[in-house]
Amino acid sequence: MNNEATATKQMKAYLTFKLNHEVFALGVDKVVEIMEVPRVTKVPKAPDYMKGVINLRGQVLPVIDTRIKFGLTPIELTKDHCIIVINMIIDEKTMYFGALVDQVLEVLEMDEETMLPTPNVNSKYDMRFIQGLLKEGDDFVMVLDIDHTFSIEEIEAIKENNQEQQRD
């Protein structure tokens, strides 16, 4: 994409967060805000990873449990947990949702060129959602492909998986 080509020379900001002791990152341009976890109203008969809805200053925001999304155990809420409010454009419609994560860390300024391609090593995470790796010191940070990860289709897909698992 052209945009990315021109943006390569520029620094890009990433928000890093923790999921199950592992560090992930996503582009800050998609992040609206970070908030503590308020009271979550569960929507009945919805799949597990759809944690429920919260009141974000008068708007009803769906919250997704990112850990279940990545095939990990569900989050047991503590005060460290955070919701990253993300906006995403799907079919020309702006969608807002909250991603529930274990802990928000910091904002990294990185040259996009330093992003490494996703290695083809087997991993405990679903690599389809990883855009690439960033090297921060000795550690690697996995950059999420937001559009892919939280698209409705993708959400539908997990649901089917879950249902299959339940049947198994």
């Binding site: 308020p38 009271r39 109203t41 569960k42 929507v43 009945p44 008969k45 919805a46 759809m50 809805v53 919260i54 009141n55 008068g58 708007q59 009803v60 925001l61 769906p62 997704i64 969608m95 807002y96 949702f97 409705i152 959400i155 649901k159």
Partner: protein, 677 residues
């Protein structure tokens, strides 16, 4: 397209719409006022087109103006199908706006342009001729080409020195005849008391482009025999005024001396009303200038959103104030509550538009459709001032178009068939919109052949939608036509019957939480009843709680509430519960939604809810009360949970889920069916 083009488009399309309506109205009433109206709006269109340098549009509109001018001046008004032609030109104009520049180079465009040009030239020529003739005629009559406004009204009393025999050839009768040729003349004779044949006095009421001197000159020759006194009573035509006929009757009865005074009083009273009428018109105009304002719909939407926020905030404030034990704060909260309510009502009102917004094109469509099918149809619109949320109008417009098309195509019979059946030759389709509680109901009624239950059934069996053995009520049979892919038309016409449609109609109507029902009697006609809520963004709800979750049930659907012990349900396998000595199916929200974080209380509440197809008892833990529910969308992530139609934010900031009862009942029905299997 630039911003200016968009401004032009909006305005231009509106003007075309007005012109079209006026023409359609003209076609029905032959009232030339309508042509004037069409002319005016086309003129506005032309002006706008030239300002935005759409020369071709402006020029074409200019040509259509000539056509209208021709109708208005009765040059081509009798030409068959002239309104249809003019309507086509308007359509063409619209097409020119929508299509690319290349459109004007097409053959079709050239054809139409030629046709209009021809008519325009014909009109111009004839009008010119007419004008010349008129001028000549005026010259011949030797009347100054004075303004029509120069008409005055006179009162003249003639007293002959000797009573004149009404049967004689006295020159005065000749004078009367001459006067009557030039003016509007009313003569009142007063007979002699002793001899009925003799006239002792005349009262003349004269109005026309004539001076006092002219009148007295007429009587010059009989000056000796008749005393005349002439008074100018008004500098306009009294004969055209309201109540003048009545005045004349009064004048006959009162003594001669009082007549003049009586007339003067009448005239001065007229002047008062004229003045007030005029000033009223002026103020009306002024008010009109202020009364309408073009605002983009996004701004209205933003405003509505903000108002919704305010309503939510107000609920929080109310809660906080009532907990504070601070009477001043409570009073303030109360005030704010009142103001927000008013604000809400006003902003709601702004989003409402009368249904006449959409009925305009219905007129056109029904007319065109009927013409195409060689049918005669009267389309009657009632309640066009009924107001609906503007987005609903947009959503409903297409489905109703489709239904009307069906009415003309399949409903109304051909004139021959109708005569055979002893019905009026002209079919009638009625569009009737009215308020019904918190809903707006729209009836579409035709007096056509009605729905044939056996035909629908056969078709459904043929399509495998039902089996031949299935016993269906009439209502259930009618509902079949809403199933996708169902169409009973024997032949597919270009007007309707493509087999898509009624299912889409139903879907569209349901998308705004509306419903559609059919009543039909074979041979007598069909009635479609559409019900839609007034608005969707704020509804009156009943706030209830089950387990730790709050739900909102639309209050309009709530029929009655009962106290229901939960243990009554525990051993109940039948899914029926008896209240008011009658068994009702019930849905236990706790069980249905698998809510089990808190223990089941001893007493629950049963809410009797009238669903679309049947009523049910909804079992919850607790009824909290009425709640002004600001509906919020609940995101596409929850699109499978469609028994939740949205969410709302409560005073304490937590969220309540708004239940879509009909969906819930449907689902319940499905699971029951599965259970039974």
């Amino acid at each position: 397209m630039s911003k200016h083009d968009e401004v032009f488009r909006e305005e231009a399309l509106e003007q075309l719409e007005i012109a079209e309506q006026a023409l359609l109205s003209f076609e029905r009433s032959f009232d030339l006022q309508d042509i004037e109206e069409a002319f005016r709006s086309l003129h506005t269109f032309k002006g706008a087109a030239h300002i935005f340098s759409f020369k071709e549009l402006g020029d074409f509109a200019h040509l259509i103006e000539y056509v209208l001018d021709g109708i208005r001046n009765k040059v081509i008004h009798n030409e068959p199908g002239i309104t249809t032609k003019t309507l086509n030109y308007l359509d063409h104009l619209r097409k020119m706006m929508n299509e690319s520049d290349q459109f004007t180079k097409t053959k079709k465009h050239k054809q139409i342009l030629e046709e209009v040009n021809e008519i325009a030239n014909h009109v111009i020529k004839t009008l010119k001729q007419n004008n010349q003739e008129k001028e000549e005629a005026l010259l011949e009559a030797d009347i100054d080409q004075e303004d029509q406004e120069n008409i005055s009204t006179y009162y003249a009393s003639l007293n002959p020195t000797e009573p004149i025999d009404s049967g004689s050839f006295h020159p005065i009768f000749q004078i009367f005849e001459e006067l009557a040729d030039k003016t509007t003349l009313e003569i009142v004779e007063e007979r002699d008391k002793n001899n009925e044949a003799l006239i002792s006095r005349w009262d003349l009421y004269i109005s026309g482009q004539i001076t006092k001197e002219d009148i007295s000159a007429e009587f010059l020759f009989i000056e000796d025999e008749v005393t005349t006194s002439i008074h100018k009573v008004a500098n306009f035509d009294l004969f055209k005024e309201m109540g003048f006929d009545e005045l004349l009757k009064v004048l006959k009865k009162i003594p001669s001396e009082q007549k003049l005074e009586e007339i003067t009083q009448y005239v001065s009273s007229l002047k008062d009303t004229l003045d007030t009428e005029e000033s009223k018109q002026n103020t009306d105009k002024k008010q009109k200038k202020n009364s309408s304002l073009r605002v983009s719909s996004e701004k209205i939407d933003d405003l509505m959103n903000l108002v919704s926020e305010l309503v939510t905030d107000q609920a929080s404030l109310h809660l906080l104030a009532s907990q504070s034990n601070n009477s001043q704060l409570e009073a303030l909260a109360e005030n704010i509550h009142r103001h927000i309510q008013q604000l809400r009502d006003i902003s709601f009102d702004m989003t409402l538009v009368p249904v006449e917004r959409m009925t305009g094109k219905f007129h056109r469509m029904v007319r065109d459709c009927a013409l195409a099918m060689d049918k005669e149809v009267d389309f009657i619109v009632k309640g066009e001032k009924t107001e609906l949320d503007k987005t609903f109008i947009e959503t409903l417009s297409d489905p109703i178009m489709h239904m009307l098309r069906n009415c003309v195509d399949h409903g109304i019979e051909t004139p021959e068939e109708r005569i055979e059946k002893g019905k009026p030759v002209k079919g009638t389709i009625t569009f009737d919109a009215f308020y019904s509680g918190t809903k707006v109901q729209i009836d579409i009624i035709d007096d056509g052949k009605g729905l044939s239950i056996p035909a629908i059934k056969n078709k459904a069996i043929e399509k495998g939608l039902i089996t031949a053995e299935e016993a269906l009520t009439d209502q259930e049979v009618f509902q079949l036509i809403f199933i996708p892919g169902f169409s009973t038309a024997q032949n597919v016409t270009d007007v309707s019957g493509r087999g898509v449609g009624m299912d889409v109609v139903k879907k569209n109507i349901e998308s705004i939480h509306g419903s559609i029902d059919i009543h039909s009697k074979e041979g007598q006609g069909t009635t479609f009843t559409i019900k839609v809520p007034l608005t969707l963004s704020i509804i009156d709800g009943l706030l209830v709680k089950a387990d730790d979750t709050h739900f909102i049930v639309p209050l309009a659907m709530v029929h009655k509430c009962y106290e229901v012990p939960y243990n009554l349900l525990a051993n109940n396998v039948s899914k029926w519960i008896t209240v008011d000595n009658e068994p009702h199916p019930f849905i236990n929200i706790r069980k249905e939604m698998t809510l089990n974080t808190t223990p089941v209380p001893i007493k629950g509440m049963g809410i009797n809810i009238q669903g679309r197809e049947r009523s049910i008892i909804l079992i919850v833990d607790e009824i909290i009360g009425n709640y002004q529910t600001v509906l919020k969308p609940i995101s596409d992530y929850y699109k499978d949970q469609d028994f939740i139609s949205g969410a709302t934010i409560l005073g304490d900031g937590s969220i309540a889920l708004v239940l879509d009862i009909n969906k819930l009942i449907e689902q319940e029905k499905l699971t029951n069916m599965i259970d039974e299997q």
